[in-house]
């Protein structure tokens, strides 16, 4: 048996303490401590696991809202509903009035739309967990959440022509909304290091025009999205994406002729009038349509 050379050869020490001699008694003696350590480790694992693995989080929402149907199939501009994104820090969940401005008319018989209208009309509803949600609005489950200390401004990124999908992924394909990116600090830096922002490769110290200001600097971001293959966002498999009970049936319904189409088929004399509205005039529109912006046109909904 080899021994390390530096260690003096000596017989095993004669007096051995009781605890050393019987390892099992260690456990018996310190079991509360060990239990605490185990609990800490287990708890810590779950705590940090959650902190790092929010990517792919896709909670079931109180209303089976499909981004695929609205943004993908109907091609409604993201900013039609999330109009706050180009104005302020928060993209914002659209107010109920935005939902109801279309759904007063469109698809108003579907179960989830009826549920939506009921919430708006009655002023409260009972959530899945049995709690009563007040205010006449849907209490959506939050998908994306940045830590409190992060200062993130949607409007600056929208102004710099960063597409929504750059961070939020292919929303137009998502039946159930999920967190696409991991939203970690290194993920932010991945992008910001490529631009002319602080620390970016083309920022010229002393020349403010190359620095942090101006839309032109964000060309790098735009180019990269289409051309630069070196930037690879860490795509991860979405774990356990929630399947929505209503989601599977929703898109099929859109193929059915809409109310307007039905109406026009029955009343052809109005068809020319509808076509003669190339530019919207707010006065021509019913009250429920006033909130629309020019990025969306009639055929967005009334296909």
């Amino acid at each position: 048996m080899e021994r390390p050379l530096s260690e003096p050869s000596s017989p095993p020490a004669a007096p051995v303490s009781a605890s050393q001699a019987r390892p099992a008694s260690l456990v018996l003696r310190f079991w509360p401590l060990i239990l605490v350590v185990l609990l800490l480790a287990a708890g810590g694992f779950y705590w940090f696991k959650n902190a790092f693995h929010d990517q792919g989080y896709a909670p079931v929402q109180p209303i089976a809202f499909s981004h695929k149907q609205h943004a993908g199939d109907l091609k409604i501009d993201c900013r039609f509903c999330h109009f706050n994104a180009e104005r302020g820090k928060h993209a914002g969940v659209p107010p109920m009035s935005v939902c109801m401005s279309c759904h007063n008319v469109v698809a108003s018989e579907k179960p989830d739309i009826r549920k939506l209208a009921d919430i708006a009309a009655t002023g409260s509803y009972t959530a899945v967990d049995g709690s009563v949600r007040e205010g006449g609005v849907v209490h959506w489950n939050r998908v994306h959440k940045l830590p409190d200390h992060v200062y993130f401004d949607h409007s600056a990124h929208v102004a710099a022509n960063v597409s929504c999908q750059t961070c939020h992924g292919p929303v137009e394909e998502m039946v159930v909304m999920r967190q696409h990116s991991d939203l970690t600090m290194s993920w932010c830096l991945d992008c910001h290091r490529k631009t002319n922002y602080v620390g970016g490769p083309d920022a010229k110290p002393g020349d403010p025009t190359t620095f942090s200001v101006g839309v032109g600097n964000y060309d790098v971001v735009r180019d990269r999205e289409v051309a630069d293959p070196t930037v690879v966002f860490r795509e991860r498999q979405v774990k356990g994406a929630a399947t929505h009970e209503h989601a599977t049936t929703a898109p099929a319904d859109t193929q059915a002729p809409g109310r307007l189409a039905t109406f026009l088929a029955a009343n052809p004399q109005f068809a020319s009038k509808v076509k003669d509205l190339p530019v919207w005039r707010a006065a021509d529109l019913p009250d429920s349509h006033r909130l629309m912006n020019a990025a969306t046109n009639c055929s967005t909904c009334h296909q």
Binding site: G44, G92, P95, V137, H139, H149, V213
Partner: protein
């Protein structure tokens, strides 16, 4: 060499006060005496002397604390194993027009503080006002505000308005109240209206309100008056009402008006025993800034004749001590000299008595030293006033404020009004305005019997008018419409809680010719309604069909409009249901009709109303003051037998008239002169203190007219011998929990009630009680070691050689090229960082700083700076990110060095050093420089070693010892759950339902853009980094640089005199760069510490004559300069 000190201990050459708190220092000394912790003499419980733990967790020692902490950690981890996103996102049902999530909206409105209107813009996030600032368009305030206006926001969210009962701290007891025996019981509005209305059907009614000046409010009162006729008397009351000034103007000018000082038109100001700055409204302080800046580069000169050191006295160029009772004669003596020079006259009774009366007084006045020699103070003042006149300027005399509102000041008011008329200041720098309040009138009214007395609009005579509590207790029915349960409400039979100004409609007039519209920026937080709504409801209930048509409306069933929210249904439809015209509609009607006509604008009716709402004010024709030409004979001031010590009751310079006593922000800002917070005190002259063996913090018993009160004493440098100064506003008994904890130990001295309301001149006897009480005084906290910190200069010398001071500043070793480069500096830093984008900087003009604390309160509101409470302030733990250091100085050889002091105020905040000493010592890299030159503090990296604070030469870093944000007034009340109302701190993304918020209203005040710091973390000023972010975001949105002045820091925005400038030092056009390059600019401690700060201070220039020695010294420096190659 002149002496400079901030603490009297400095004068004796004593070492700087031990940095440790006294208890820690004592514990260390004890440990040393026992031979250290390892010695056998040392008891096992050394820690027991540091009883902080015991006080936070009774019965817990350090070991069990560690055990509990471990258990808590395990529990925290276990409880953390839950849904990672507990949040729900609650959208709007319909997003209000013009609102953007995460972007604040500004509403123009007006709040009333100390009885005067303050035009403000309220910034609201999601319907919650979080910041008040001056209305930028308003011609008198120009976007500026002051400490008490800023703090009005905290009054709005004061949980005590919800009627906290200490027995049931978790339940709020808001809503209308009826007296049942000794207690109030909740009732309904309908019950209250019908009961009070029934009582009003007959009998004589007295309505006491606060000052009333808005057109709709005046019209409403006129309607009530016409409805009730002779039965109703109305008195607008304020304890500081300028009754003596009104009487004096009647005597001298024959005009029924009160004066307003239009300082921007003046060039020399002589104040007689009055504090223009502390008592003045925002507009006055803004005007002081313009006056001090001067037109055509000639700064205004401030001369103070005063017995106690006032805030204006700390800014005075020449300050002459004199007793208060000699003040009238001094003013007449000045008037006499002015009259002689201008060919005017003074009244014959005065000119006869003047020579004999002024002789003993003149002997005691100090001489003004000039290069030619010494000039007598009275002659010199007259010369200055005449010189201003000769130079096409205006010299003006000022008397006013709380201390000179009573009849005892009539002689002085007459003298100064006369003097102003002689000087030609009347109508130019002093203009008459309609009086809006009276004190004498209420004393007279309360001497008669009344059947019903209604108190509204914050009038609180039971607290601040001697004898009023007894008189009100005798009335048959007292109804209070005040928003809080104040002392008058405590006597009332009915309480119909009114609204805070930010919850209510209304209007006001901050000066003659300007009227402001008041709009609510939040729904009423509690079940309360506007006092005007209550009055209308009472009138309708009492008079029925005889009620004036302007107060009634068609009855509307409650359920008629289901879409209005629950709260507004309660407010609006509750009144409409009973046929009472809601107050909002009343205001709208008056404004779109009468006010629109008075304004004479192109827009009328509804368009005018909307424009007025948006702008917040309109200008109207000035009211012509009624003149009756009933001149009275001016009689000579009656000489009184001089008392060895006389009492002076001045207004508190922090809490104002006392209505804001429950405001923890105002309680915690240090007094500008004495740097005391959280307590009232009695100030003594150093001479009196020495002769009667009184030291600061001795508890003394003051006896005035047979009444004895106890107060802690403070020896105040600069105070004239023979007077004791006490402060009005303290000593309330039912202001709320915050005020209550300031009133322990029996110091409930209410200066309003002393001496039967006489504000000065009463004889007072002082006895030591032998007790001691430590005033929370910040003057010796955070002392800076170094010479070049606060620098002043004399205007004349500075003009002779603007570069002298800069050349002569002390150069240190590293400035002499020791790093091998000529002109280079020795530094441990490899190189300075460059900031190619923005480089934020600040310039502070010490000449304009009045020490008013507006910046501190603005910073409190903007940056969620918590209040720590009195006990923690005593331990140097105040959290203010910006503080104002106050330095005294006196020329060498001055005999009365501690009496004739010159004062310098210096705002001190993080200097954002390029060579930041804090950054080098942080083991966690928690404090680093960002790319725009800001020394940022990263809270979630900070581990609380406090090395950075120890290494900061400016002492601006603050350590959060107790999660102060969880307390209303510091952790001294941690054992009392009712004081810990705000336990859960709301941060962005942690949406709490509105119902919960209403019950914890202080959370709603937090600025959502600023992190609420946790315990154990260092924090400090970051130049309002959230505003830099939005500046940069705006640039990104627009794709170009935005111009200077786009945004500014909260302190710079609030500063009433515009002493603080903030902006981008890289912008060649920026104001801050111009200021930083001013010849007066210097960098504090830069020469000593080589810190390269980004805050430039501009020397204070004392506008007084240079003495011969000072001229010689300048000449010597000049010759040195000439000898250098």
């Amino acid at each position: 060499m002149k002496k400079i000190w901030s603490d009297p201990a400095d004068l004796n050459g004593a070492p700087a006060r031990d940095e440790f708190a006294p208890d820690v220092a004592a514990a260390i000394a004890d440990l040393r005496a026992r031979g250290g912790i390892d010695s056998p003499d040392c008891p096992e419980q050394v820690d027991s002397q540091r009883n902080d733990l015991h006080f936070a967790f009774p019965g817990v020692n350090r070991r069990s604390f560690m055990q509990l902490t471990g258990a808590a950690a395990v529990l925290a981890v276990v409880s953390g194993c839950s849904d990672p996103h507990p949040d729900t996102l609650v959208p709007y049902a319909q997003q209000p027009d013009g609102s953007t999530l995460g972007v604040g909206l500004w509403y123009s409105t007006v709040v009333r503080v100390n009885g005067t209107a303050r035009p403000v813009m309220a910034k609201a996030y999601d319907g919650r006002p979080i910041k008040l600032d001056g209305n930028p368009d308003h011609p008198l305030v120009r976007g500026r505000s002051d400490a008490r206006t800023q703090a009005a926001l905290l009054d709005l969210y004061d949980p005590d308005r919800g009627g906290i009962d200490p027995a049931q701290p978790k339940v709020f007891h808001d809503g209308p109240k009826r007296r049942d025996g000794a207690a109030f019981v909740t009732t309904t509005w309908a019950d209250l209206d019908s009961s009070v209305g029934a009582a009003l059907k007959s009998g004589r009614v007295l309505l006491i309100t606060g000052p009333v000046d808005g057109p709709a409010r005046l019209a409403h009162l006129a309607d009530l008056q016409s409805a009730f006729g002779e039965r109703l008397s109305h008195v607008a009351y304020h304890p500081w009402a300028a009754d003596s000034a009104r009487a004096a103007r009647q005597i001298v000018l024959g005009e029924r008006s009160v004066p307003r000082w239009n300082l921007a038109k003046a060039s020399v100001l002589v104040a007689f025993g009055s504090d223009l700055l502390a008592d003045g409204d925002t507009a006055t302080q803004v005007a002081y800034g313009a006056f001090r800046r001067g037109s055509n580069g000639e700064p205004g000169q401030v001369i103070c004749v005063e017995p106690t050191l006032s805030q204006l006295g700390t800014c005075a160029d020449v300050r002459i001590r004199a007793s208060m009772d000699s003040m009238a004669w001094i003013a007449w003596a000045v008037a006499n000299e002015v009259a002689a020079a201008t060919g005017g006259t003074i009244p014959p009774a005065i000119s006869q008595a003047l020579p004999a009366a002024i002789e003993p007084i003149a002997k005691q006045l100090r001489k003004v030293r000039t290069a030619e020699g010494e000039t007598h103070a009275i002659t010199w003042m007259a010369q200055r006033l005449l010189a201003a006149r000769a130079a096409n300027g205006v010299g003006v005399a000022y008397v006013g404020g709380a201390v000179h509102s009573g009849p005892e000041s009539l002689d002085l008011q007459v003298a100064t009004t006369w003097l102003n008329r002689l000087l030609g200041a009347e109508g130019v720098a002093v203009v008459g305005e309609a009086p809006v309040a009276t004190r004498d009138g209420l004393i007279e009214a309360l001497s008669k019997p009344w059947d019903v007395v209604i108190v509204a609009g914050g009038a609180n005579p039971a607290f601040d008018l001697p004898g009023a509590a007894e008189a009100l207790a005798k009335t048959k029915l007292l109804v209070s419409l005040n928003p809080t349960r104040d002392e008058t409400t405590a006597l009332a039979a009915w309480h119909a809680p009114g609204l805070h100004d930010l919850e209510s409609w209304g209007d006001a007039s901050s000066a003659a010719g300007v009227v402001e519209l008041q709009q609510p920026v939040i729904h009423p937080l509690w079940d309360s309604r506007a006092a005007e709504d209550s009055l209308s409801a009472f009138a309708v209930a009492a008079l029925g069909d005889a009620a004036p048509a302007s107060l009634v409306t068609a009855r509307v069933p409650v359920a008629a409009n289901a879409t209005v929210s629950v709260v507004s249904r309660k407010q609006l439809w509750g009144a409409a249901e009973r046929g009472v015209l809601p107050w909002r509609l009343y205001v709208q009607r008056v404004w779109s009709d009468a006010v629109a006509k008075a304004a004479g604008t192109a827009a009328t009716g509804d368009a005018f109303w909307r424009a007025a709402l948006s702008r917040g004010y309109v200008t109207v024709a000035r009211q012509v003051m009624p003149v009756d030409r009933m001149f009275r004979e001016v009689s000579a001031p009656v000489a009184q037998a001089p008392a060895p010590l006389s009492l002076i009751c001045t207004a508190s310079r922090t809490i104002g008239d006392g209505s804001q006593l429950n405001n923890a922000w105002l309680q915690e800002i240090p007094d500008p002169v004495s740097k005391v917070c959280w307590d009232g005190w009695a100030a003594f002259s150093p001479a009196d203190a020495a002769s009667s063996d009184i030291a600061s913090n001795d508890v003394v018993a003051l006896t005035v007219d047979g009444t004895t009160v106890q107060l802690p004493a403070l020896v105040q440098d600069g105070q004239h011998p023979g007077c004791v100064e006490v402060f009005l506003g303290w000593g309330r008994t039912s202001a709320g929990i915050v005020a209550g904890i300031t009133a322990d130990d029996g110091f409930r001295a209410n200066a309003y009630l002393l001496a039967k309301g006489r504000r000065w001149g009463s004889a007072v006897t002082v006895a030591k009680t032998g007790k001691r009480y430590e005033l929370a005084q910040t003057q010796h906290h955070h002392r800076l070691a170094g010479e070049q910190v606060a620098i002043d200069d004399i205007l004349e010398l500075h003009r002779a050689d603007p570069g002298a001071a800069k050349r002569n500043h002390k150069a240190h070793a590293w400035e002499n090229g020791t790093d091998g480069k000529p002109g280079g500096r020795l530094s441990i830093w490899r190189s300075h960082q460059t900031y190619p984008g923005h480089r934020w900087g600040m310039a502070i003009d010490l000449d304009l700083c009045t020490g008013c604390n507006a910046c501190m309160v603005a910073c409190n509101a903007e940056n969620n700076v918590p209040v720590v409470g009195r006990d923690e302030v005593r331990k140097n733990r105040e959290m203010h990110w910006i503080r104002i250091d106050r330095y005294f100085s006196a020329p060498a050889g001055e005999a009365d060095a501690r009496l004739d002091v010159a004062v310098l105020h210096q705002p001190m905040l993080c200097q954002q050093c390029d060579n930041a000493p804090c950054e080098a010592v942080c083991p966690a890299n928690a404090t680093v420089k960002n790319d725009e030159g800001i020394n940022v503090q990263i809270y979630n990296r900070c581990i609380g070693t406090r090395y950075c604070s120890n290494n900061c030469p400016y002492k601006v870093r603050r350590f959060n010892w107790y999660q102060y944000s969880a307390f209303r007034a510091g952790p001294q009340g941690s054992g009392q759950p009712d004081i810990r109302l705000v336990k859960h701190v709301m941060t962005e993304g942690n949406h709490v339902a509105a119902v919960e918020l209403a019950h914890q209203p202080l959370q709603m005040m937090l600025n959502p853009e600023v992190t609420v710091r946790h315990r154990g973390v260092m924090e400090k000023c970051n130049f309002c980094i959230q505003r830099q972010r939005s500046w940069r975001t705006d640039e990104k949105r627009q794709g170009k640089r935005v111009a200077d002045g786009h945004l500014t820091s909260a302190c710079a925005q609030s500063c009433p005199t515009a002493a603080i400038t903030w902006g981008d030092l890289n912008d060649q056009e920026s104001q801050v760069l111009k200021q930083s390059n001013d010849p007066r600019a210097y960098l504090a401690l830069d020469a000593e510490s080589n810190t390269r700060p980004k805050v430039a201070y501009l020397r204070k220039l004392r506008n007084r004559p240079a003495t011969a020695e000072e001229l010689v010294a300048l000449h010597e420096h000049g010759s040195e300069k000439a000898e250098k190659p």
